[in-house]
Amino acid sequence: MIRNRRLHYFTFAKKHFAVWVTLGLCLLIGEGILDEPCRLAAATDEPEEFHGPPPHPGYPDPFEIGYILFDTFSPNKQFGIIYPNRLLEESPDFIVDLKHSRILALLETGEPYFEGKNHGDLAAHWAPNSSAAVIENSGKWEPIGLLLVELKDGKVILQTDLLDSLNKIFSPAIAKAQHSRVADSAIGELDITGVKWKTGKSLQVEIKCEGSTNPKGFEEESSWYGELTAVWDVAQRKLVRHQLARVSFHAAGRKEQ
């Protein structure tokens, strides 16, 4: 059974109902005095636990001892992500159905995130209708994966790594500035600065990011920097708009252009 650590409070809440009633009254009267407990109280509707398939008979249950439920759920609170703790750090991350306690899919990322991973982080940006999510598996200089996960009828139907598409925009721009081949031109650092879903005629996600070629700032290397805004259309399965802004280039040993 996997419980979200933040939601442990609510397991206690069941056992200490009287305490919570008293606290709730205080908070109602003194509304605005304390902000943090109000947020805790508001989270009681969130799913509390997940349990995967039964373990091999006689063997430990990885979902009991080795996995943690990530604290960002789909807006309808049906879907979430679980990642391993240090005990199972080589193990994959999964997309799960919290409502039916089912594993839906393995997160298709090269180096799965695990608890306390060095330079690692996880972020999930769910579409308002819970039909898709952009999941960022961060690395030291750039994301290890920026996965668009699409769901339909409670199943994962497609996972697309958006990093390839973003790199295809950065590389020609860098090649042009550096007078190098596109294949030899790649960003060295990529920061995802914003993920925003747009609902309208079709479901789209706007990704804002900053790319650069010389993250350590070596003087003997050229430095390219640019801010990219790209819009992915879920139905068309491609980037439909993109714009590079604030582009700067500093050739090795030369002043900024």
Binding site: F12, C26, P57, Y59, P60, E64, I65, L87
Partner: protein
């Protein structure tokens, strides 16, 4: 207003006290026969065999302490693997966060289920020492492994990682390792 604040402080005190209470033991594994389960109270044990029918404690499973154990780090979750016939329990500890040389070590123990004349169930260790150390020393002796010259401050480390039980519970497949760790060489 004073009454409100006093009430609030008391409530928060009660809440923090409640949050400090320990959670119940974690059920790590259940015997294939369904007779017993292995429970562990986080964060530092003990590891207990409990009856599945009435929850009574049958035995405590203790992995012998490492010679180098400093005891000042968090103890990792022990992993029990129960044989298909439910007569054997292999327990291993994986503590990646421990300081060296313990981080290179993987302490383990093998327990055998026995039944006394009055029908009481017991679990006894199959080896008097740590199983990983005994396994390595057995391999060392059988395979006549060479022992390189070690620095005087070197400490031997052993590990035994579970792979699988055979279907008839007669064989336990393990990955056994041994080595040495020297503080002076590691700097």
């Amino acid at each position: 207003m004073r009454l409100l604040l006093a009430l609030l402080i008391i409530s928060l005190e009660c809440l923090s006290h409640a949050a400090e209470e320990k959670e119940g033991p974690i059920r790590l594994a259940t015997a294939p026969s369904g007779e017993y389960a292995v429970d562990w109270a986080a964060p530092d044990g003990p590891l207990r065999v409990v009856s599945n029918s009435d929850g009574a404690v049958i035995a405590e499973l203790k992995i012998p302490e490492s010679e180098q154990s400093s005891g000042d780090h968090s103890i990792a979750t022990p992993l029990p693997f129960i044989s298909p016939d439910s007569n054997w329990v292999f327990v291993m500890n994986v503590d990646n966060d421990a300081p060296p040389p313990e981080s290179f070590s993987r302490p383990s123990a093998l327990f055998r289920r026995t039944r006394s004349s009055d029908g009481t169930i017991h679990f006894e260790a199959a080896t008097p020492d740590r199983f990983d150390k005994a396994a390595w020393e057995f391999l060392d002796k059988e395979l006549k492994l060479g022992r390189p010259d070690l620095p005087p401050d070197a400490k031997r480390v052993y590990s035994a990682s579970f792979i699988d039980w055979s279907r008839d519970s007669a064989r336990l497949l393990l990955s056994v390792g041994g080595g040495a760790w020297s503080p002076s060489k590691s700097e």
